[in-house]
Amino acid sequence: MSKRLFLAGGVLLALACYFGLGVTFADEYLHADLSLGLPVVARTLIAFLGGLAAMILFFAAEDFEDLTQPRTLIVAGIIFMLIGSYFGLFVAPPEQYMGETQRIMYVHVPTAWFALMALTLAFVSALVFLFRGSFRWDARLEGSIEVGIVLAFLLCCQGSIWAKPTWGVWWDWDPRLTTTAVLLFAFIGVLALRRFVEDPLKRAIWSSVATIIAYVDVPIVYFSVKWWNSLHQQQSAPSTVSKPFWIPLRANAFGILLLMTGFIMLRSRIAALRVENERPPLMEEAV
């Protein structure tokens, strides 16, 4: 069952890659139309939903004993990132106004997407743990938060490096940057809380509640550029991004998606092993 779900996830990912990357590559470099008559919006939607569904299936297939699945995802993620970085650094042309610095966007934007995605997974894990009481979801919660923090930290570093040549400063207390910093520290706080509580059940419940509270900042981060007069630019859409920029952006997006999924799976195993060592026999019966 686990292998079948994992394979189904792989098939969906291949479909997402076909419409998200393959069609654009054929159109841009081979001058061939492989779109099957689908408009850009439909193809982008298939790529997005296919990637999302693949990730859900990978988690559904998760076997805490077997390390083959996370390893496969991490290796695939590295390959996608190598392709994306090659196109981003050496093939895509410089942007009209931002010049070469625009190449930072090919790693910055996917990092932002999947930092928020990892923290959304943490939120879902917190809700499921509170309703079902399964410690596997507590392990996923810990894994998602830690990977989300790593990606959010990386996001802030990349953003600062991009801000210096374009805005003239490394950091500005603008709504997008401020809410992202708050998000990073709120989730670091949740992990710190987990370190301070020794009882596994109390730790799981308290950190689930803290995660739900901290998650309130995720939609605020996303909409901050629309709600307030932010220095940070608004979200782009396929219609506002030139075609030569699509391949590096999307290849890196698939790469970080796979790396994030593989990392969360590995980190969840560490958390699960730790909880197994800590749990008294009575609680093992209960969950």
Partner: protein, 49 residues
């Protein structure tokens, strides 16, 4: 900056990509190390029981 156009900037691009690779690689290595340690501890505890 030259007439509203950012000029140069390759050093910033290299810095951003380098930090991305470094952070992801270091995090990946720490995950493998921690998982190995936790597995060893679990097997030690199982043997002790």
């Amino acid at each position: 900056m030259n007439g509203g156009v950012v000029t140069g900037g390759w050093n910033f691009v290299v810095a951003a990509y380098s930090i991305t690779v470094a952070v992801l690689a270091i995090y990946g290595v720490t995950l493998i190390t921690r998982l190995r340690e936790e597995r060893l501890r679990a097997s030690r505890d199982a043997n002790a029981k």
